[in-house]
Symmetry: C2
Subunit: 228 residues, 2 copies
């Protein structure tokens, strides 16, 4: 690149971050087929970037489970979940999130209740169309609700464990297409959890979270049966 001028000299931001976000959005939106090869050079060409930042972005992405790496072979998009895997994912969430709800409720603040209420409002108003952009708004509101609770446990390790699951949740939700089908259920169940928070009833919060996740589990299994 001695003839052509450098493309981004004043753009004081890390290119690898941009690549990372771009790939993330491709993966969440399902623009990439499961099992597809993620060629480093190819992505670099597509994004008009050198392979170096692509390499770094993929390395960061690997631990989310959305991308698999084989040494000296390259990266691939991880395969889609099977129905049993969907159930297992919710089982793992059932291990963590009810405790989160109980802990967060015990340390709840009016601010938290307001924030949670806001995510439910967002959920209610988010379009449930099939478009990826729309779907993402819905997903974000849903994710925010659960993440806020995880953050309010006050335990960073728990939050980290929840995040580890969350990376997978993204793909799971897209795959199952729940954003379109179970909005009413999700809003009702989130509201039940919120009510427990507002009342300061930690045991009820825990129970409501269990009920919610069991609902998610059942509905996702049904959905995945319809879309083999």
């Amino acid at each position: 690149m001695s003839a052509a001028a450098p493309r981004r000299t004043l753009n004081r931001q890390v290119l690898a971050d941009h690549v990372h976000e771009e790939l993330m959005s491709w993966l969440i939106d399902g623009r990439l087929e499961a099992g597809a090869n993620l060629s480093i050079d190819g992505i670099a060409r597509d994004l008009d970037v050198s392979p170096t930042p692509v390499r770094e972005a993929l390395a960061r992405l690997e631990h989310t489970g959305m991308v698999r790496r084989v040494a000296l072979k390259g990266y691939k998009v991880a395969p889609l979940f099977t129905a049993p895997e969907l159930a297992q994912l919710v089982d793992a969430r059932l291990m963590i999130e009810p405790v989160n709800a109980e802990l967060a409720c015990a340390r709840s603040t009016p601010q938290l209740v307001d924030d949670l209420k806001q995510t439910i409002e967002d959920l209610r108003h988010a379009p449930t169309g099939a478009s990826y952009a729309e779907f993402r708004e819905y997903w974000k509101a849903d994710e925010d609700f659960h993440r806020l609770i995880a953050e309010h446990t006050g335990n960073p390790f728990i939050l980290n464990a929840y995040r580890t699951l969350g990376g997978q949740v993204q793909r799971f939700r897209f795959f199952a297409g729940l954003g379109v089908t179970d909005a009413d259920n999700a809003i009702a169940e989130h509201t039940a959890i919120l009510d427990a928070f507002a009342a300061g009833d930690a045991a009820a919060a825990r129970a409501a979270m269990v009920a919610h996740l069991n609902g998610v589990k059942q509905r996702s299994i049904l959905d995945s049966a319809e879309h083999p």
Copy 2:
């Protein structure tokens, strides 16, 4: 590098993997001070490698929590744990591992029982000296015990969540220096868990794991009070 011949032409393995393991061992062994700058170029010089694989290794390492990154600033060794953080870490383990014990016990096999017994043997025979090499043997036996159980839940997401914690456990264990002080307790408590597995009593396995982790929590707090 046109004059000097390429250093590793036949070495058919990824250099970034080697750098990754090397950094990991530096971090676990405590050879790196907390808060120290991890200069990409500097590490490259030290390991006689170009910055590219170092960059990739650090990107992979970031999610373990042992290393922090600030865009355009570089990487630093994460600060050591405080006593409340140690307690929180065990709290997070208490959320996951008792369930693991219950699930794994329900699906237990003679093979698993044998493997667990072996880790206890290793624990018993591992030197408890202050040398890093010795300490690592002890830590590995301990880690194997807990990981085997997590693997036998049959739920890859749970295993993943446990691993997320595990990355932190490494530093925690080194920091607190438990490997030297509580070997007898750990062996006894692991044996109690093993007995429950051998008897096929899932509830007892769960209870024994709770007791073990509570023991770890108390002892680590005591230790960290002694070594401020």
